[in-house]
Amino acid sequence: MARTKQAAAGSSNANSSSVNGSQKARSPSPDPSDRPLGPLAVTVPAYDREVVKVNNANLTELKNACDDAVKRFLSRPELFKQIYTHTDVRLGLGWLSVFVAAGTAFYGYKIDFEQSKPVVTVGLILYIILTVLSTLYAYFVEGDTIFVGKRKTFSKRIITERITLSSSTPPTPKVSSCPSYSVSLHYVRSTNGGKTLLGRGRTKGAAPYNKFFDANGVMDQPAFEKWVGGLVETAMDGKAA
């Protein structure tokens, strides 16, 4: 059963490589017999897919729809569990700055202006520091990342995998061609508590948006998932298609 599914994955790899941009892989190539389930091998029975309909002309909506589809696709049971570190840092810093601002404003409202000046100044500076920190974190540390996932499987030993996906919409050179969705994956497989590296893969792929969205803006989710799944499996195999 597993072999036929892998063959199907291999052929979809060949299909998707004709559309992909550039791909590169890094050694060492992981041992194929050791390879845990890839996303294409895990078929979930026809679950209630909600129809995703977006505004075709709005690039942000298109990208967000694709990002959400990736997150849903890779967070299914048996697949990766999403790590929310980036989101939590942004949420923490953001809400802290909101509370600092609210407290400072309330204090300034209750106490006379002259007496409240030192405290309000301190609160203001604290707010500015938190906001700058949050912005710098989102720009430099988080960057384009949309999904960070982790999985632990047990075949002969406990294998830990970590996958990071980032996506962007690069500017199109020609006005007439369709903008494309560019995704970049980084995959690491290790064991022994992260000390022994089993394999690593890095993949990039790009596809035009009109491959997944029809004229009305309805998203073709199975086709999108097949494309992303192919990329993930390529990264898991650690070799260029």
Partner: protein, 201 residues
């Protein structure tokens, strides 16, 4: 329209809802902080005010927006346009300074103000700079402001909110409209909030 949004929220999870609310809350927080920061930088309680009456025509008309500063080393001169607030009066008044008398630090100013309060002077007030006694009058009024002082003979520097540095005509009518008709205020805030909650960056 709402059912779609609610479905989207349930699908995307709790963190997403928190993020969207954070978007909205941080817009409000940054507005508050900009206002407070402006107050600190200009050393004025309310650095932007709206003209409510016509007592300063033809210089300022009702609905003009005024920008104030109040540097602590400022000695006001005849001809300055100041905004002041009498303790006990709700609304600040914008009028022109007619007379000033400088009171050096060594003299206790309360001898001249006939102020009703028996309290000692607060620390931090009048300690570094010379205080001043001021008399004001609106350009479009026939009499000076003694009637408005509620028993005081002179204004002191602590009553002054700031001196007018610049103005924008007509912009203040938005505030006047929102004060006269509170539903407009809530409608505007509600609309902005809805927009911030629904959009994703």
């Amino acid at each position: 329209m709402f059912t779609e949004e609610l479905k989207a929220f349930r699908r995307l999870g709790f963190r997403h809802v928190l993020l969207q609310v954070l978007n909205f809350a941080s817009v409000i927080a940054s507005g508050l902080m900009i206002w407070k920061g402006l107050g600190i930088v200009t050393n004025s309680e309310s650095p932007i005010v709206v003209v409510l009456s016509g007592s300063m025509e033809p210089a300022f008309y009702r609905g003009d927006l005024l920008f104030l500063t109040n540097p602590s080393s400022e000695q006001y001169k005849t001809g300055d346009i100041t905004v002041y607030k009498i303790p006990g009066a709700e609304i600040p008044i914008v009028h022109r300074v007619m007379e000033t008398h400088d009171v050096p630090k060594s003299i206790d100013i309360r001898k001249y103000t006939k102020s009703k309060s028996k309290s000692k002077p607060q620390p931090g007030e009048d300690s570094k700079q010379d205080n001043q006694l001021l008399l004001t009058k609106g350009d479009n009024n026939y009499v000076d402001d003694i009637e408005l002082y509620q028993g005081l003979e002179w204004l002191e520097k602590k009553h002054i909110v700031g001196k007018v540095r610049g103005f924008l005509p007509y912009v203040g009518y938005v505030t006047i409209a929102m004060n006269d008709c509170p539903q407009l205020k809530y409608a505007l805030l509600g609309g902005l909030g809805l927009l911030a909650l629904i959009q994703r960056e």
